[in-house]
């Protein structure tokens, strides 16, 4: 009998929500456990963090501590295919808002003994540290997308992830556009789908938790918000949100802020 593919799931700086996409998979998780060997997945009970000969390594979370910088290199060395799941692993996450702030001061203001807290000045995407084979965006990722990716890889195919904008999903669902009819600052035109356009479906604007779509025209969208009376400071915040370190969102955010911030 052929050996089952070896799969690991690793947590970095994150909220656990993307691992939960797997743990919330219900029956599908147990079917998956039949098809693969979970070698490391602490939350599910499998511990072997630096195991060798991994076929698929899933990474949740961003790199924000010295130990995480080291750990990701070890995991990469032993993994054939490395997939980032979620906004933290793929773009640094909401916690990357520290990258444009005074990190030492933040630490000191929040923690009475900051010397006990291991934290880097920046929170960064996994791809800033090692080669990533596939990115699954979303905050949190959609369970079906993760399961589809595993299924494709088990069948020897490269997973297909749509990079369409949320607008296309709204059209498919027959949603009334919240930008046009409610003048809401909806980020759908520049955000990739995958969520199923859940926010516009309940009448609120998208807040870009799935990251940038393919070829997004961020400046035109921001200018549209400005023409509707939104301040440039708030437009900047629309982009500097959950996926603030996605390069195209960061550029747009900085442009509307009017303050170029460069940090190594």
């Amino acid at each position: 009998m052929m050996q089952k593919p070896r799969v690991s799931v690793h947590k970095f700086s994150s909220c656990d929500g993307c691992q939960l996409a797997l743990l919330n998979g219900g029956q599908a998780l147990f079917q998956l456990a039949e098809l693969v060997d979970f070698v490391h997945f602490a939350e599910a009970g499998f511990i072997d963090p630096e195991a060798k000969n991994i076929d698929i390594a899933f990474i949740e979370g961003s790199v924000s501590t010295p130990d995480e910088e080291r750990r990701i290199k070890v995991i990469r060395e032993h993994a054939r295919f490395l997939i980032t799941i979620g906004a933290c692993a793929t773009a640094g996450g909401v916690q990357a808002l520290r990258n444009a702030a005074k990190h030492a001061e933040w630490l000191r203001r929040i923690y009475p003994s900051p010397e006990f807290v291991a934290s880097l000045k920046t929170s960064s995407a996994i791809a800033n540290h090692v080669k990533v084979d596939l990115e699954i965006w979303g905050c949190p990722v959609n369970t079906q997308q993760v399961l589809d990716a595993i299924r494709s890889l088990l069948s020897g195919a490269y997973p297909k992830i749509s990079r369409d904008s949320v607008c296309l999903e709204c059209k498919r669902q027959g949603n009334v556009c919240v930008v046009v009819t409610k003048k809401q600052p909806c980020m759908g035109p520049v955000t990739r789908t995958g969520c199923g356009a859940i926010c516009p479906s309940v009448g609120r604007g998208c807040y870009a938790c799935y990251g940038p779509s393919e070829n997004p025209n961020t400046m035109a969208l921001g200018q549209h918000f400005a023409a509707q009376g939104m301040s440039t400071a708030r437009i900047a915040q629309q982009f500097l949100h959950i996926n603030n370190q996605a390069p195209i969102f960061q550029q747009a955010g900085m442009a509307f802020k009017g303050i170029p911030i460069v940090k190594q």
Partner: protein
């Protein structure tokens, strides 16, 4: 007993089947615990500071990301804090709907905890998938309860874990049955 004064140590660098990250270190001399340290090494993410300067209607989207397992708890706390800033009183209907929303999270999270995270310890297995081979009905019950909780959160949250009826002060939008 000859081993009475022997010192032993138990080091658990990664606690398995818990929500979040932790390590445990215990020193035992004879029958007495000399030291016990639980280390929570979850990295800081600075929500306390990154929320400063943001508009109040963004706050619920941010705080949901503190914990992906219990986002509703953070959203409800933030909603109450913001409402008290604005001196807004919510109607009994909203309060009941929020309680139901919260109950959905409890059902989902606690059934996950009981069946998938804790039960393997009590029944002597390393993981839930391993336990499923011997006690499939226990796991199926867990899945059903988890699915019920998820359905409530989805119904009241507007489709996903992290969304609560749009904006804090517009909470009278009725949840849509989909």
């Amino acid at each position: 007993m000859s081993n009475n004064n022997k010192t032993r140590s138990i080091e658990v660098p990664i606690l398995a089947r818990v929500e979040g990250e932790g390590a445990l270190s215990i020193q035992i001399k004879g029958q007495t615990i000399k030291s016990l340290q639980l280390k929570i090494y979850e990295p800081p993410r600075f929500f306390e500071k990154l929320l400063e300067g943001r508009h109040y209607d963004e706050v619920l989207d941010f705080v949901a990301r503190i914990c992906g397992i219990c986002p509703v708890a953070y959203q409800m706390s933030a909603a109450q804090a913001i409402e008290s800033c604005f001196e807004v009183t919510i109607t009994p209907w909203i309060r009941e709907m929020r309680r139901l929303f919260y109950c959905g999270e409890w059902l989902e999270s606690h059934s996950l905890h009981v069946h998938f995270l804790a039960a393997p310890d009590f029944l002597g297995f390393n993981s839930a998938p391993e336990m499923a081979k011997h006690h499939p009905e226990v796991l199926r019950r867990g899945l059903r309860l988890q699915a019920l909780g998820n359905a409530l959160v989805t119904l009241l949250g507007g489709g996903a874990r992290f969304i609560l009826w749009g904006h804090v002060l517009v909470v009278s939008i009725k949840p849509q049955v989909r």
